[in-house]
Symmetry: C2
Subunit: 336 residues, 2 copies
């Protein structure tokens, strides 16, 4: 068996990469939510002085990365690789950011699991001796995502109570072989899990089975109990997905209730902000981790965190084929 592998799906890093810098930018609505004081930058205009939402999303990602580099005093030339993706078809935001910064680029698509996917692979490039400084980053935008995956906003259609609200935001992390910051100790690489959900307005239920699979596999592979973690944090399951995950993991013998939360639940005050089940999108776990959790770890309020970014592999193309919406979840264990 590979020397750094534990159990079925988990990697144990031998020289755990450090997260030396973090930056988050969110939109105006996210800036009115419960975590408003934690984000590094809150936009007053969700078009960010651009003509389109898509261009705004690209700019959010680009500026997050530029600011994360500035904060650790690195230039783009010092970065070995950028691992990034987003929700826009063909990764428009990430591709144009990689072009503008001229950093060797691996494009990833993991839907809303991209933050943990990019962190897992970025950590491998450092622990494997292939890189010294790597960027992991992702973004999403409410308006570009609604347009692409559901209905044009002009359509004004109502959302059912199970729907989630795609976060306008981005998060960027700089990982390094040397330096100060939380370390990435493990990564549990997720499988694609499909329970047959077909409703694009019930992403939480589509993603929960993948989260359950990855969390239980992680705990099994590492032999850790849920209490090892100060926080087990799923990406964007929202209220319904969080409840399903909590309940089904309990049935499987893993009680995570005391340490469990979900970025999609945390980022909005759903009752006041009319966001139904909560936040979603790549930018959800990215901005909550980079804005809120990273800073709490740096303050030593949190020591051990398991971040599980969850992705619904929703596509209009597959919906047109009568296909269901499978989910995937990648977990990254981070310690201060």
């Amino acid at each position: 068996m590979a020397v750094k592998k534990m159990g079925q799906q988990t990697i144990q890093f031998s020289l755990p990469p450090k997260i030396i810098s973090s930056y988050s930018i969110v939109g105006p609505k996210e800036g009115e939510g419960p975590l408003k004081d934690w984000f590094d930058e809150v936009l007053t205009d969700d078009k960010y002085e651009e003509k389109t939402w898509e261009k705004a999303e690209s700019k959010i990602l680009r500026n997050s990365i530029i600011a994360s580099l500035k904060s650790c005093q690195k230039t783009p030339e010092e970065i070995d690789f950028m691992l990034s993706g987003d929700l826009l078809n063909q990764l428009m935001s990430a591709s144009y950011t990689a072009r503008d910064l001229s950093i060797p680029f691996f494009g990833l698509y993991g839907a809303c699991s991209t933050m943990a996917e990019s962190l897992s692979l970025a950590a491998m490039t450092i622990d494997g001796g292939f890189a010294d400084h790597v960027i992991a980053a992702t973004s999403s935008h409410f308006s570009s995502a609604e347009k692409q995956f559901r209905f044009p906003l002009e359509h004004g259609n109502q959302k059912p109570p199970t729907a989630q609200w795609t976060v306008t935001g981005a998060g960027a992390l700089v990982l390094a072989s040397q330096g100060t910051g939380p370390i990435i100790t493990h990564a549990t690489v997720g499988k694609v899990v499909d329970f047959g959900i077909t409703d694009a307005n019930n992403m939480g239920a589509a993603m929960a089975p993948a989260a359950i699979d990855t969390i239980s596999t992680h705990l099994n592979d590492t032999g850790r109990s849920p209490d090892f973690y100060d926080l087990i944090l799923t990406g964007d399951l929202g209220e319904i997905g969080k409840q399903i995950t909590n309940d089904l993991l309990k049935e499987k013998g893993y009680n995570i209730e005391n340490v469990y939360n979900d970025c999609g639940v945390m980022i909005f005050d759903s009752a006041k902000q009319d966001t139904h089940c909560g936040g979603s999108g790549c930018g959800c776990s990215a901005s909550v981790f980079c804005g809120h959790i990273y800073k709490r770890m740096m303050k030593k309020e949190l020591k051990n965190v398991l971040l599980i970014s969850t992705g619904a592999l929703l596509s209009t193309i597959s919906t047109q084929q009568g296909e269901t919406i499978p989910g995937i979840a990648h977990a990254v264990a981070i310690s201060m």
Copy 2:
């Protein structure tokens, strides 16, 4: 500097991963081209007994992977990771294949550079000690790609002479820490390069600058001269892109002419098959490498090959924003 890095963008593997198995499936048109006798499987029906092209593309990818596993007598349970992507929005083919095979999955998007992107990262997971067996695979389909990126086929629009023909096909490789087969010695990770091309029917010109950048960087980083290679093989630049690459590299002081070819030029007899500038798509370099080149390496007809899969980061989304088409190219050095 990271221990396994040479120069700016190149990784030198210390325990070079072996490619222990390969499989390729192509469509009927590719099966009438000059390489017809090399592919493992040629479809007689480009719908592959499915109702839609998209489902056919998923099946081509899935069956290539299953056959590549069978040929090295591995089960999906023995595979640590699958690294794969395709051209369909949100990676429909790769995601459903990962679901059906239940292998831990990293979704990648590199447009037509995906074969080399997946090989680079797959090699890192093995060389880094994170995995023993990994799949790198990709696919494309002419009809699903035309529909998604250009016009519906029913539209019957004419293609200009600069256009390329998306290959219907897939290629799958199994990489292992132990075993017999060609080894991956280096990977040069590409940057996104943009020369301002906006014509979706001139992908060769959009991708050539990225190929030129990656090839010259690879030769610089490794100190190798073009003659070190028996074959320098770009992914899918087609006739025009190949000519540009050849000429501009010569201007930069790298004469690769004697050892240079392009998968897109090789896969079709463009004059007879009406494929204009040649083949393109993720499946182009995948099927040509997995079907043709891998077998020639196993027969020892080729010793050192540099595979540069080239991707045009074309998206209808970015076109709608008035954006250009940037390109990316990743290079993998393979020796027998």
